[in-house]
């Protein structure tokens, strides 16, 4: 069965990727200067105490030993505990264990699981906005290469791609939220708080969609089967909507797979600006606090998401264009 073999092969490759990512991040965090223990214990803590905590936490063992221990946990679905974040009472049963250094810390997996849905909501809404903005512009531009819709696509995508997301976020918050009072901007108290961040994210994604679509639609329209379809008696609408659009959707899907990391990068900055409680904000705080287990956990989860999304993209692309099945 093709699908099963495909899935098995890709999941295996994906596991290797996730492993490589973990190894990379793990090593990186331990090689670069900056001791997390000092940060945890506070600047004034005596050297001996820091060494004590570090040794207790296994941070003075050789890297490969630490990594082995860590991966062992990951295999069992344990991404470890945050260095700095306390577990809030609701999440973990009670905080009455003796081991004060460990049990009060939040589980990395819980932290990620709590914030990921928020980010998913933001990303999906942004994707919807982006497609609404970009598909008409891109398709129209591709149908009239060299004409004014094509120019407009070029100008708009060049402008959109030149808007730094954090700056755009500030400007839109200033105008739409502060001056015009149209929608809330900072924090999260309901779905309305997702709209503005999603809009900013959508404008960041849109130019890539526009560019990909103009190129691929124009490319498909030049192909022989489109050219000859009119002579075969098909109408213009049939040619554009049944054949041209279907054929140009594969590059768009691939874009999603390749640019997934760009999307996440955008999420990160935008969540930071709007103080939106998602995975991105969690990441930035983890970096600022040198919360190694949390950074590692996020890296692994995003790498896994990347792998899964790319598998899904390839499966859908194969369903659209059966030539890709091999």
């Amino acid at each position: 069965m093709f699908i099963l073999r495909f899935l098995a092969r890709r999941l295996f490759q994906g596991a290797i990727i996730v492993f490589l990512v973990s190894a990379l991040i793990f090593t990186l965090l331990r090689v670069v200067p900056g001791d997390p223990v000092r940060l945890m214990a506070g600047g004034m803590a005596p050297e001996a105490l820091i060494e004590q905590i570090a040794t207790d936490m296994g941070l003075r063992d050789p890297i490969w030993q630490q990594f082995g221990r860590y991966m062992g946990g990951v295999m069992q679905g344990d991404l470890g505990q945050s260095f700095v974040r306390p577990a809030n009472g609701a999440a973990v049963g009670g905080a009455s264990f003796d081991d004060t250094t460990r049990s009060e810390r939040a589980e990395v997996l819980t932290l990620i699981a709590e914030t990921a849905p928020m980010t998913l909501q933001l990303a999906l809404l942004a994707m919807v906005f982006a497609l609404i903005i970009a598909v008409p512009i891109g398709v129209w531009g591709g149908l009239r290469p060299g004409g004014w819709p094509d120019r407009m696509a070029l100008y708009l995508s060049s402008l959109f791609v030149s808007l730094p997301n954090f700056w755009l976020g500030i400007v839109l918050a200033l105008i739409l939220s502060v001056k015009l009072q149209l929608m809330p901007a900072i924090g999260y108290q309901g779905f309305a708080y997702t709209i503005l961040p999603a809009l900013v994210l959508a404008i960041e994604i849109a130019p890539f969609v526009i560019r990909t679509l103009t190129v691929s639609v124009a490319g498909v329209m030049r192909q022989n089967f489109i050219d000859i379809a009119g002579v075969r008696g098909l109408t213009r609408n049939q040619i554009v909507f049944r054949h041209a659009l279907k054929n140009s959707s594969v590059p768009l899907l691939n874009l999603l797979g390749v640019q997934f990391s760009m999307l996440l990068g955008g999420v990160l900055v935008i969540e930071f600006i709007f103080d939106y409680p998602g995975l991105g904000l969690l990441t930035i705080n983890a970096v600022m606090q040198r919360d190694f287990p949390l950074i590692q956990g996020i890296a692994i989860v995003t790498a896994a998401a990347f792998v899964l999304i790319n598998i899904a993209v390839d499966l859908i692309a194969t369903a659209i264009d059966p030539r890709l099945e091999y």
Partner: protein
């Protein structure tokens, strides 16, 4: 009741002129074209490239766009002018007037099944037909054009069809709406000769069965004569004559037609033959039981494609050796083995006694000075951004021959030897014609002064006149430098002209190796006879297509049947052929063939 005018003429073209608008003003493409086509008639339009025949086809199919423009004339279809009434013309497109082009591979949407697109097309032009009726009709027609397992093929995608099968599907696509006129524009051009012959035969049958008139556009006079009731010759945008095929070939009225006929190479008649070098008995290259298989990843996991199987032959010094076969026969794989680009899985390739397949990388590089390859594609074979001089000096640099000035002199000398102006030394090859590019390729190959030149379809991309000039050049260079040539080609007429000995390949095997005359007058393999019967020629055929023409498609090189690989298509196959593989054995006088029908063939290998 039909009115009498439309009964006698279906299509009537009157004074049609078309121009192409360009930066230098309009250029005349067609001028005052006029002809009539009766219902059910097959009319061929022939002309060389640039004669305007494709523009004519597209004008009639209402498929012309800028920069092309009709400046005068009428195209009357059943008495109404298509040019004056665009809406009427659009309503006819694909319904009453069908079109099949010369590029079957790209003619349908790759993401939809062939069947779905046939149904889509029929229902686009005939919305009254229900989806299930349309499907039934499509399958019936797929069967009519002899696509095996039509029900299953209906649900397959275009990429799963071979070129010949796709062209049949496109014919179905055209005929499915029961058109009154079919415009067939170069439909056999990309196909192998045996497949093209099948398509032509099919077209004639369909013409009588469906009573469709056919306008058959092609560039080969023999094909046109084979295919049609009447032939119309087009030259530089004008009709020069129109006659029945017999009268045209027997008594051409126009000088252009006579010249066209005189230029045709012949297979069996004693025409102006080229000098064929006398074969020596000293082999320069010996191929001994060479095999090569490639691994591919198919839908069902990994599979072996057996591209070359136990090939045996000798090439003698000073000889012209030909390797012919249709696409997929393994001649390109064999070329890669002969030139040391790949190493064989089994067997030996001895060049002057030394095994090319086993030589070390360094030794192979040294050996390369002695044998060179001239490639097929005049556009892809040259590094795109190097000046001509640099291209020619590259081999000398690689082999560290001469200093800068010597290399320059050598390059210029070779350029004039192959007929390239030495003033082109610093130009990029971008502006060169296909023929000039092939000269440059020849020059690059011979600058190392090799003894053996392998020509891989070197002339295929060139027209008849250019081919002739290059063959003259090859002859002259051979006389001057004593080269040995191996010509790898699909073109029987070319091989007939220049080669002294010829190997015929089918599915990775050399099924026949024989001297030129013997191969053409007394072939020892049914596949060779099939090739000869399908070759486009005006001569009286020695082998009639009715007796020799192949049915079906070659089996896949992945799962070859046991026995003779040709058995599944051979008109003379019997039981033994399906269980045992005949060996390539001598028929006397340097001729060898692998067929049980030859009396001497008793030994076998599997």
């Amino acid at each position: 009741m039909l009115d009498t005018a439309s009964e006698t003429t279906l299509l009537s073209v009157r004074g049609l002129s078309v121009v192409a608008d360009g930066p230098d003003g309009p250029r005349q493409i067609l001028e005052g074209i006029g002809f009539d086509l009766k219902p059910r008639q097959i009319l061929s339009v022939i002309g060389e490239s640039g004669s305007g025949k494709t523009v004519l086809a597209r004008t009639l199919a209402s498929w012309i766009a800028a920069p092309l423009r009709v400046t005068a004339g009428q195209v009357l279809f059943k008495g109404r002018d298509l040019l004056a009434d665009r809406a009427y013309a659009r309503g006819l497109a694909g319904r009453e007037i069908a079109y099949v082009g010369g590029n079957p591979a790209g003619a349908l949407d790759p993401t939809m099944t062939v069947g779905a697109q046939l149904v889509e097309k029929l229902r686009a032009v005939r919305p009254d037909i229900s989806a299930s009726d349309a499907k039934a009709k499509a399958i019936r027609l797929l069967q009519a054009v002899r696509i095996p397992a039509a029900e299953r093929r209906f649900h397959e995608y275009p990429f799963q069809y071979s070129g010949g099968m796709m062209q049949r599907a496109m014919i179905v696509d055209a005929l499915i709406s029961d058109p009154a006129l079919l415009i067939a524009d170069n439909i056999t051009q990309p196909l192998d000769v045996t497949v093209a012959a099948q398509i032509l035969k099919l077209m004639r049958e369909l013409n009588s069965e469906f009573s469709t008139a056919i306008l058959f556009i092609c560039s080969s006079l023999p094909v046109a004569c084979d295919a049609s009731d009447e032939v119309m010759v087009l030259n530089k945008g004008r009709v020069v004559e129109r006659q029945t095929p017999d009268r045209l070939t027997a008594a051409p009225q126009h000088a252009y037609t006579s010249a066209l006929i005189a230029e045709l190479p012949t297979l069996w008649q004693e025409g102006p033959q080229r000098r064929r070098p006398a074969a020596t008995e000293k082999p320069i290259m010996s191929v001994r039981g060479v095999s090569k298989a490639y691994e591919t990843r198919g839908k069902s996991g990994k599979a072996l494609v057996q591209a070359v199987r136990h090939v045996d032959f000798d090439v003698f010094a000073g000889d012209n050796f030909g390797i012919v076969g249709e696409s997929g026969c393994g001649k390109s794989s064999l070329m890669r083995l002969l030139t040391g680009l790949e190493r064989p899985d089994g067997g030996q390739i001895l060049f002057q006694g030394e095994d090319v397949g086993a030589a070390s990388a360094r030794r192979l590089r040294e050996l390369r000075r002695e044998f060179q390859l001239v490639l097929q594609d005049p556009y892809g074979s040259l590094p795109p951004q190097s000046p001509i001089g640099a291209i020619l000096e590259e081999p000398l640099k690689i082999h560290r021959i001469g200093n800068r000035a010597e290399r320059r002199d050598r390059a210029r000398a070779v350029m004039s030897e192959v007929g390239l102006h030495p003033g082109l030394y610093e130009s990029l090859p971008t502006g060169l014609s296909a023929g000039q590019r092939q000269r440059l390729n020849v020059a690059r190959a011979m600058i190392l002064e090799p003894s053996l030149l392998i020509m891989d379809e070197t002339l295929s991309a060139l027209d008849q006149t250019e081919q002739g000039k290059l063959l003259d050049l090859f002859e002259r260079l051979q006389a001057q430098h004593g080269f040995t040539y191996i010509f790898i080609s699909h073109d029987l007429t070319m091989v007939r002209q220049v080669c002294s000995r010829i190997a015929v390949m089918y599915l990775g095997e050399a099924v026949e190796v024989a001297p030129n005359d013997r191969l053409f007058f007394d072939p020892g393999h049914p596949y060779t006879r099939a090739l000869l019967s399908a070759a486009p020629t005006l001569e009286l055929r020695r082998y009639r297509p009715e007796d020799c023409l192949l049915e079906g498609e070659p089996p896949s090189p992945i799962d070859l049947p046991p026995g003779c690989a040709f058995a599944s298509r051979c008109p003379q196959a019997f039981d033994r052929c399906r269980s045992q593989n005949p060996a390539l054995l001598s028929r006397g006088g340097q001729a060898l063939a692998a067929c049980f029908l030859n009396p001497t063939n008793e030994a076998t290998h599997v």
